[in-house]
């Protein structure tokens, strides 16, 4: 079944991908392809857009309309594509640094407009492509090549950030919980508005080594042990929750979407003409 998916949704002549052995990004990429496949969408109607970083190489391997842009700017390019052709189903694949540091402004404003774009964050808590510098999601006290004495920054919770900014579908999954991740992405794709799935990934090469997290298997087990579903978490006290992180669906609402609201203005003048 997997091989059919790869044959139909990937540019097999562009594989293998450039990601390191043990990297979680391949699972996240496959989850996106599987979600699109489950929805039965025509490839010609899907446009996958990325910025710069490890995550952002994904669209190059995927057989859709694909656009690999500049660092942090994927959502701004995507806004142009979506507004110009609202019939396209626009997906942005981004990383933690790409979307919440250099692209942070575009992230909150695309969410604020409730622009119909689905954003999948391949969140590995580190800048992998440039060699392991700390990112806005690197936990405090963790190490990176630019935090040799421990990170003193406080990390962003990307889900809370876009929820506050106006996103209408927000969820978190992990590359360990691959099947639930596919379901979350499917629901994100179906939401008419700005959707974000924070897909917690692993970077054994940099984050893992710098922080003595062990093998890729150990890092996957960490995701398995530390992730707790939002419904289960609701029943726990902060003490019981401890160092676990919450995954699942955080927000799923309906609000006016930008390109539809824009079209209403256009239609108003069509009637008057």
């Amino acid at each position: 079944m997997s091989s059919e998916l790869i044959k139909n949704k990937f540019r097999t002549d562009r594989l293998p991908h450039i990601w390191c052995p043990g990297c979680g990004h391949g699972i996240a990429m496959k989850a996106l392809a599987q979600a699109i496949d489950n929805l039965g969408w025509d490839k010609k109607d899907v446009c996958i857009i990325s910025g710069i970083g490890c995550s952002s190489r994904a669209p190059g391997y995927m057989d859709f309309n694909t656009l690999h842009t500049t660092h942090g700017r994927a959502l701004a390019f995507a806004t142009g594509v979506k507004l110009a052709n609202p019939d396209l189903k626009v997906v942005v694949v981004t990383g933690d640094g790409d979307c919440s540091a250099i692209g942070g402004n575009h992230l909150i404003h695309t969410a604020r407009r409730n622009m119909d774009i689905t954003t999948i964050v391949f969140n590995n808590n580190i800048y992998g492509m440039t060699g392991g510098q700390y990112s806005p999601t690197t936990p405090t006290n963790d190490f990176g090549t630019t935090a040799p004495f421990g990170n003193i920054d406080k990390p962003f919770d990307i889900c809370k950030l876009v929820e506050a900014a106006g996103a209408t579908y927000v969820a978190r999954g992990t590359v360990y919980h691959a099947n639930p991740l596919i379901k979350l992405i499917e629901k994100a794709l179906l939401n008419k508005g700005f959707s974000l799935v924070d897909a917690i990934s692993i970077c054994p090469t940099y984050y893992g080594r710098k922080n003595k997290k062990g093998t890729p298997v150990n890092m996957m087990n960490f995701l398995k042990d530390k992730a707790i579903d939002v419904k289960a978490a609701a029943k726990l006290t902060p003490e019981e929750l401890g160092d676990k992180f919450i995954m699942g669906e955080f927000k799923n609402t309906q609000e006016p979407e930008y390109t539809e609201e824009y079209q209403k203005i256009v239609d108003r003048f069509k009637k008057e003409r």
């Binding site: 010609k44 859709f64 309309n65 842009t69 806004t79 142009g80 019939d87 404003h109 203005i265 003048f269």
Partner: protein, 379 residues
């Protein structure tokens, strides 16, 4: 044939009217003085024709969305001024390498930094050429009147579509903000060029392959069924990233050559009083108006001065400027900066030609008298 409409119009408004005549249906930008009227007119006009307008969160996003709009098949434009032009440079380089047609209007104001936001300048001339990193092709036009702003905006779109490249309209506060008479050409008088597209359903489409006899690769739009890839990395004929030095070399040379091999098609200039000219005043944009007034007065005083208007700023009208100075002994370049375009003149003329720079950076226009005084000083 319908009669031409005659009206008083502001330069910035004429830019929008020209863009609409050229088929612009997408605008993304960020407000900045003295270009804001361009965004305002687009916001007013585009929804009426089913076009798209969006005010983005910053200048960078304005440029990015403009490229996105073009990739989805619409003729796209953004407008800004110096500080915003600086911020747009990264994605301008992207549009150059990914060969995405679009028009960027820079209504120049006095810089550097925030400078004098409402004062005219021509300080972005070199930034237009070298603003983004790496070698890249550049086409930039500079209008001197409201009518020319209208005409050259159309020309910018035509060049962008023809050569698949970002094109700059280098306005300045003088021309952008003044209102003067314009005769609007009738639709049948306007020539519009649309990008060459691949044949529908072409199974062998390669997004960056140039076939024999083609100027640029035919350009598909997202959503038409061609599953092509676009990237700011060096790429092969399919558009996929490549580290191959041969592919990189071939790609960048092709992108540079599509402009440099067609300079005669792109370069536009006008000349007056040139027959017996011992001195040539070379000017562009708003400053040209002062230069023309000065040269006319000089002629009335019997001084043998010619006038050269550079309409295409980049590529530099190198061949013609070299020819001119084979006869004229000196060339005067007035500009609202401390001598940017004059460097190009110095580069191309012979050693025995006297090149004189007249720069001004206090936020005021160069007056005809200042140019006349310089002419008299030399002749």
């Amino acid at each position: 044939m319908k009669n031409r409409e005659v009206k008083l119009m502001q330069g910035n408004e004429a830019c929008v009217e020209g863009a609409l005549a050229a088929g612009m249906t997408f605008y993304a930008g960020y407000p900045i003085t003295p270009s804001t009227e361009i965004a305002e007119h687009c916001a007013q006009k585009l929804p009426l024709i089913g076009g798209k307008f969006i005010q983005m969160e910053d200048e960078i996003a304005g440029m990015a969305a403009t490229i996105g709009g073009s990739l989805a098949g619409l003729k796209s434009m953004t407008a800004t001024s110096g500080p915003g032009f600086s911020l747009k440079q990264e994605n301008i380089g992207y549009a150059a390498l990914a060969e995405v047609p679009c028009v960027i209007v820079d209504v120049q104001r006095a810089g550097p930094s925030t400078g004098l936001p409402t004062a005219p300048s021509q300080g972005d001339i070199m930034q237009a050429k070298w603003g983004t990193h790496g070698d890249h092709p550049v086409i930039a036009l500079a209008p001197t009147s409201v009518k020319e702003t209208y005409d050259l905006t159309i020309k910018c779109f035509n060049l962008a579509e023809k050569y698949r490249t970002p094109v700059f309209l280098m306005l300045d506060e003088i021309v952008g903000h003044m209102r003067e008479k314009i005769e609007i050409p009738t639709p049948d008088e306007i020539e519009v060029f649309d990008r060459v597209r691949p044949e529908a359903g072409d199974e062998n489409y390669q997004a960056y392959k140039v076939e024999e006899g083609q100027l640029v690769p035919p350009m598909a739009a997202f959503g038409e069924g061609f599953h092509f890839h676009v990237t700011g990395l060096m790429h092969d004929d399919f558009g996929f990233p490549s580290n191959d030095s041969e592919i990189a070399d071939k790609l960048l040379r092709r992108i540079m050559n599509k402009i440099s091999n067609n300079v005669d098609d792109i370069v536009m200039y006008e000349e007056e009083f040139m027959e017996d000219a011992e001195m040539v005043v070379l000017a562009y944009g708003g400053t040209y108006r002062s230069a023309r007034s000065a040269v006319k007065q000089a002629r009335e005083q019997g001084l043998k001065v010619g006038l050269f208007k550079a309409i295409t700023i980049w590529p530099f009208p190198e061949k013609r400027v070299r020819e001119l100075t084979s006869k004229a002994k000196s060339i005067l370049v007035p500009e609202l900066n401390l001598g940017q375009y004059v460097l190009e003149v110095e580069r191309v003329v012979s050693d025995d030609t006297q090149v004189i720079s007249l720069g001004k950076i206090n936020g005021e226009a160069i007056t005809p008298n200042e140019i006349l005084a310089k002419i008299r000083e030399v002749l």
